[in-house]
Amino acid sequence: MSEPRAKSSACAQFRYALPCELAEVPSARRAVRRFLTEQGLHEEELAACELALAEACNNAIQNVREGGNLHPVEIAVLCTDSKVEICVNDRTPGFEWPDQVDLPDMNSERGRGLFFIQSFMDTAQYYRGKNENSLVMRKMRCHQEHRQASAAASVGEMQARLEETQDALSDMARELCFRTESLSAIFRCSSGMGRGKNLPELAQQLLNDLLHITSADWFVLRHVRETEQHLAAFAASDGLDVSRPLSLASASIEVQAALARRDLSFGPNCPLSKTDPLGATGQRAVGVVRPILAGGDLAGTLAIGRSVSSEPFTAAQAKVIQTFADFLGIQLVNARLCEEQISTKLLAHELDIARNIQRSLLPRSLPQLRHFGVAGYCESANQVGGDFYDVLQLSDNSLLLVVADVMGKGVPAALFAAILHSLVRALPEWTQRPAEMLARLNWHMYEELSSVDMFVTAQIALINAKKSQITVASAGHCPVLVAQPNIPGVKRIAPEGMPLGILPTTQFIEEVHEIRAPCRVLLHTDGLTEAPDVTASARAQQWLERWVKESLSRERTAQQLRDELADELRKAQSAMPLKDDQTFLIVAENQLDDAGTG
């Protein structure tokens, strides 16, 4: 229960916090009666006010909402020369105050409370609120003996009242000045933000203003990001070394305030621990750490204090600190959202660029041999990677097929794919052997790839129709699949070879196999068989091999087979979204004389 306090002047006030228990009502009644007696109320008025107050309190306690009894019933009494006003706040569900309060049936044991209030008081108004309701009851003072007493007040008493009023006025003026300074500091900060100044600089400026307003001499503003487990310095007053981030597991007062989500004060009675980073502000330092919350989430902490004077902050200064901290919390979160928006836009832009590069690398049409047709497919995942394929005609009877996968996503992968593409186009001038081609590619690209910790897997297959041969070299790439009627199952051609960019000089092995029409040759990237786990991936590989083998039974051109396989892959994707690019080149014997395009 809070102590009743009274103020003696022409308008006297009295407040009482009544614990929410009926047994406490008599004490409240007596306290109010004592106060009103001091104000010179007549016995009849006293009895009326006492009864009305009791009824209001009984209602507030007997009908209190669940949990409401944890709060006191607030009673406020205002007494002037002409009237008494009693206000009782309740936490009940509330009710509609009837226009006319009638007496209940004579035998009813209840229902006379409102009747008493209305009968004994001159007016009663009931205001319903969301959590609290207020009953305001007024009684006009008819017995005026007290007025003569008041008129006889001595000059001394008048003087005392005047001084009291002057004190109150200067308190108010000080507070007004305080608030004006706070508001203008916040406006200055807001307008700085509008002019595009950066937040750390503005926070520094705002908090320097706060030091001035609250007569403090140092501050530390820290922030925390969702994914981080530490409080990092965002701004601090000059001369404080706060560069080391505070782990959220540490015992410093800033972390404790952040975790407890409440203000923690320190001072001579509650000193900082010797190891606390704020200990550098001095042995006699006083101050407070306020957690900065935004939308219920922790955004940071503001520590502010005095190292010269050991006088604690006044209630008004503490309020200003809270306001500034809350304001900074909003700004921190806004700045963070802004940053996120920009980086999302940048990323989307980067992906567009990468997608354009990748698209430009794919040949519009593919060269064809008389006996063999070839078709290509490349489908990008959401995050563009560095897959690409190319087909070069080396002679009337030979085609060079290249499929590569640059490890990584986005613009860097796409750029390496572009370099690889140019180098591949230049290769046939040097050599026509797939293994030598890979060695040369590695030699050209090793330095660039290794400097950014990237690598490329690639596969080069040379089809010589005249010799009915396929020569394959691989740089860590998945096998070339070959299906022919005369061999059981599917042949996997996977000669050993390191991916490009791993070692400065690498030798590659070639495998030569016979191919005769009808046949199917599939070069692909691992995106075709990518699955969440090894078993699923092995299952996907088996499925792909079965598909290649079974396709032999259908008379199809390379383009038709490309479309069929692409359809199958798209069907599989509807169950699981594409995570990696899917690229393949498929070769089939020509059924028709006219050669298709890729």
Binding site: E24, V25, P26, N58, M106
Partner: protein
Amino acid sequence: MKLVDKGDVLTVVDVKELGANNSDAFRDEVKAALPNGFKTVEIDLSQTNFIDSCGLGALIAIQKFATSHSGSVAVRLLYPMPPIQQLFELTRLHRIFEIVPRTHE
């Protein structure tokens, strides 16, 4: 509050206040004593300086109990102070209670 057994009459004395905080206990105590063969219950209100609507409710409950459950026990209210008398009149309860005014003291 005290209950005084005067043979046929049960007298309730020393009632300082009858408010929401104590009216239930007051009612239950008097009701519990009634079935002991009393013909009259006298509630002495001469010391009572405060009664609220719950206090009045307790008196009505005693009156109802006395007439319905304990046969025909009469309830008499003794010597209420003027503000309390005023309450009975305002609520017209003076019509159902037998009130012995202070002037009869």
